[in-house]
C-alpha cells in the first residue's frame, strides 16, 4: 500500500504474517508509513489491527515477513529492540499508567532510566508535556485520582516525554466515557499539528477525516482497502468495507 506523502519511510511492513497457534491473525500485511504521515487503522474487532500495531514496537512478535522501523529491522536482538522502543511511543486502550507512581513520576521514569536524563531536566520536560495535554496541576496526584480522559492524556504525555519519532495509538478512546472522548481526541489533534508520525487504531471516523492522511481498513487479518479518508469513506470499493461503514454509522 503506497504512502500518500512522499518522504523517507518511518515504518515498513513487508508481507508480515502472524499466527496464534492455528489462528492466522496477520495475513501478508504490507504497509509503508512515511515520516510525518498520519495513518488511521480501522476494522471490525478481531481484524488484527491491534495485533499489527503491537508488532510495530514488538509487544507482539511476527513469524514471517519483515518490519523495519526508522531504518532498523525488528529482530530478536535486544539492542535494536531498545533503540526502537525508545523512538516509538505507545498509548493503550486501558491507559496502563503506573498506579503506584505519581503523574509526574509516570512521566519522568523512562526519560531518567532509559534516556539517562538528569532528574530536574526530566521533570521540566514532563511538566511541559503535561501543560501541553492541559493537566499540569495534576502532577503530584496518583493515576487513581484522575478521570479516564485525564489518565489517557497523561498516558500521551508519558509517551511524548521519551521524545519519540513515531507515536502508536491502540484504540485510545475505546475505554472512555463519551464525554471524555473529545478531550483525548483534541490532544491527539494537537499532536498531529506538530508533524508527529502517527499510527492510530480507532473507530473515531470524525477524527480520521480531520487528521489522517490515509485510512487503512483491515478485516480478517489483512489490509482490505486503504486511501485518503474522504475517498475511502465516500467510495468504498469492497463489500466488507461497505458493511463495516454501515455498522459504524448505524452505531453513531
Amino acid at each position: 500500500m503506497d504512502a500518500v506523502l512522499s518522504g523517507p519511510p518511518a515504518i515498513v511492513l513487508d508481507k508480515v504474517n502472524k499466527w496464534y497457534g492455528a489462528l492466522h491473525v496477520l495475513r501478508d500485511v504490507s504497509l509503508t508509513v512515511t515520516e510525518k504521515e498520519r495513518v488511521v487503522v480501522c476494522g471490525p474487532s478481531g481484524s488484527g489491527k491491534s495485533t499489527m500495531i503491537r508488532c510495530i514496537n514488538r509487544l507482539e512478535t511476527h513469524q514471517e515477513g519483515r518490519i523495519i522501523v526508522d531504518g532498523t529491522e525488528l529482530t530478536d536482538d535486544l539492542r535494536t529492540l531498545d533503540t526502537i522502543r525508545r523512538d516509538v511511543g505507545m498509548v493503550f486502550q486501558s491507559f496502563n499508567l503506573f498506579p503506584h507512581l505519581t503523574i509526574l513520576e509516570n512521566c519522568t521514569l523512562a526519560p531518567i532510566w532509559v534516556r539517562k536524563m538528569p532528574k530536574a531536566e526530566a521533570e521540566a520536560l514532563a511538566m511541559s508535556y503535561l501543560e501541553r495535554v492541559k493537566i499540569p496541576e495534576q502532577a503530584k496526584k496518583y493515576p487513581g485520582q484522575l478521570s479516564g480522559g485525564q489518565q489517557q492524556r497523561v498516558a500521551i504525555a508519558r509517551a511524548l516525554c521519551m521524545q519519540p519519532k513515531i507515536m502508536l495509538f491502540d484504540e485510545p478512546t475505546s475505554a472512555l466515557d463519551p464525554e471524555m472522548i473529545k478531550e483525548v481526541l483534541d490532544t491527539m489533534i494537537g499532536l498531529a499539528d506538530t508533524g508527529m508520525t502517527m499510527v492510530c487504531v480507532t473507530h473515531e471516523m470524525g477524527f480520521a477525516r480531520q487528521v489522517a492522511h490515509r485510512v487503512v481498513f483491515m478485516d480478517m487479518g489483512e489490509i482490505v482497502e486503504s486511501g485518503p479518508p474522504g475517498e475511502l469513506f465516500e467510495n468504498p470499493k469492497t463489500d466488507r468495507l461497505k458493511l463495516f461503514l454501515s455498522q459504524i454509522l448505524r452505531g453513531h
Binding site: N57, L59, D82, R85, R86, V88, G89, M90, F92, S94, N96, L97, F98, P99, H100, L109, A110, W113, V114, Y142, G144, Q145, A155, R158, A159, M162
Partner: protein, 378 residues
C-alpha cells in the same frame, strides 16, 4: 441475638438508637432485646466473668513470684507445690528467665546477647519506618548484623571467644528468623521471577524443581538433611557449623514458600503494566524493579506476613537437631528438678514472647497496607 417476632431492620434501628442514647441503649437493644436474648447475655456474662476471675485469681492474686533458696543456692519450691492449682508459680520464670532467654551463654557475659536482642528489635523498628527506606538502610543492616555476630561470638575487641555451642535462647530464635527473612526474601523474588521466565526454559525448570521439591518435604526433614546428611557429602576437613547449616535449611525452605506467594502477586498484576513499561523502553530489570515488584509485593503483603509469622514460629523446630532456641531453653529450664512440675507457667511465658513478636508483625503489616494503599487510592 434474635429478636423473635420483630421485623424492623435491626441495623437501621441500632444506628439511630446509638446515635441518640449511646451505650446503654445499644446494650438494651442488642443484649437484652428479648427474654431469650437476656438469658443468653446473662449466661455468657456469667461464664466470661468466672473465667476472667479464675485467671486473675490464679495468675495474679494467688500467684507466687519468688521462692526462698537453700544455702547451696537450690530453689525451695515447697510453697509453689502447696499453691499448685490455686496460684501460678511465676517464680520459675524469675528464677530461670536468664537461662531461657540467653541459654547456656556464660552468665557474666550475658549482657552481650541482651544487647543483641535489643539490636535486633532496634533494627526491626528502624526498618519498619518508611522514611528510612533508602539505600543506606542496607548498610545499616550489614553493620548491625556484623555487630551481632561479633557480640555473640567474640574473639575480637577484647571480647572473650564464645563458641556457638553456648549460644541459645532468644538470640538464636531472632538470628534464625532475621537472617532467614533477609536472605530468603530476595531468593524468593528471584525464584518467583524465574518461574515466569518463559524465554529461559532452563531457569524456569530449575525454579519449578526447587519450589516443588522443597514444598514437598517437611521442614523437619530438611533440617535433618542439613544437620546429618549434608556433612557426609562434604569433603573431609570442611566443616560447616550446625547453626549455619540450619540457617541455610531455613532460608531454602522459607524461600520456596515466599516465592509462591510473590508469584501470586506477579500473576495478579494486569499484563498492561508490563506492556507499558516495555513500550517505554525499560529493560527487564528496570521494569521489574520499578513497575512490577512494587505493585506485586504490595498486593501480597497479607500472605507474605502470614508466611513470615509462620516461619518465625517454625524456628522452634531446630530443637530436633540440637540447637537451643527459645522454646528449647524453656524445656531445658523445666528439666531442673525443683521446677519440673511448673511447665504451664514456663510455656505461658514463652507464648507471651512469641505472641509479642508475631502480633507486632501482624499489626505492622496492616498499617503498612493501609499506608501504601492510601497513597494510591486517595
Amino acid at each position: 441475638m434474635s429478636d423473635a417476632g420483630i421485623h424492623v431492620p435491626t441495623a437501621a434501628r441500632t444506628q439511630t438508637v446509638v446515635a441518640s442514647a449511646g451505650l446503654v441503649a445499644w446494650a438494651r437493644l442488642n443484649l437484652f432485646g428479648s427474654w431469650w436474648s437476656t438469658a443468653v447475655t446473662l449466661l455468657l456474662g456469667y461464664i466470661i466473668l468466672r473465667v476472667v476471675a479464675g485467671v486473675v485469681e490464679w495468675g495474679l492474686i494467688h500467684a507466687i513470684w519468688t521462692v526462698p533458696y537453700s544455702a547451696t543456692g537450690i530453689a525451695d519450691t515447697a510453697i509453689c507445690q502447696v499453691a499448685k492449682g490455686t496460684g501460678a508459680c511465676w517464680a520459675v520464670l524469675t528464677d530461670k528467665y536468664r537461662l531461657i532467654l540467653f541459654g547456656r551463654y556464660p552468665y557474666a557475659e550475658q549482657w552481650r546477647p541482651a544487647i543483641v536482642v535489643l539490636l535486633f528489635i532496634g533494627l526491626y523498628i528502624v526498618s519498619g519506618m518508611r522514611r528510612f527506606w533508602r539505600k543506606e538502610l542496607l548498610v545499616v543492616w550489614v553493620v548491625v548484623l556484623a555487630a551481632i555476630g561479633i557480640l555473640m561470638g567474640g574473639g575480637v575487641f577484647g571480647l572473650s571467644d564464645i563458641t556457638e555451642d553456648y549460644w541459645g535462647g532468644l538470640p538464636i530464635t531472632l538470628i534464625l528468623a532475621t537472617f532467614g527473612a533477609a536472605f530468603s526474601f530476595p531468593l524468593a523474588v528471584l525464584v518467583a521471577l524465574g518461574r515466569r521466565a518463559t524465554k529461559l526454559p532452563a531457569v524456569k525448570l530449575l525454579c519449578v524443581l526447587y519450589v516443588e521439591i522443597i514444598r514437598g518435604v517437611p521442614l523437619i526433614a530438611v533440617l535433618f538433611m542439613a544437620s546429618v546428611m549434608f556433612p557426609l557429602f562434604m569433603p573431609a576437613g570442611i566443616n560447616v557449623d550446625k547453626l549455619l547449616r540450619a540457617q541455610i535449611a531455613f532460608i531454602l525452605f522459607a524461600g520456596a514458600y515466599l516465592a509462591e506467594v510473590i508469584r501470586g502477586g506477579l500473576q495478579a498484576l494486569p499484563a498492561g503494566q508490563a506492556e507499558a513499561a516495555d513500550a517505554l523502553g525499560l529493560s527487564y530489570w528496570k521494569k521489574t524493579a520499578f513497575i512490577i515488584l512494587p505493585q506485586a509485593l504490595r498486593l501480597v503483603i497479607p500472605p507474605l506476613v502470614n508466611t513470615f509469622i509462620g516461619f518465625f514460629k517454625d524456628t522452634s523446630l531446630v530443637l530436633i537437631i540440637g540447637i537451643f532456641d527459645l522454646l528449647t531453653m524453656g524445656k531445658v529450664a523445666l528439666s531442673d528438678p525443683p521446677w519440673q512440675s511448673f511447665s504451664t507457667e514456663v510455656y505461658l511465658g514463652l507464648a507471651a514472647v512469641y505472641i509479642a513478636f508475631c502480633f507486632a508483625m501482624s499489626k505492622y503489616s496492616r498499617s503498612l497496607e493501609r499506608d501504601l494503599n492510601r497513597a494510591r487510592d486517595r
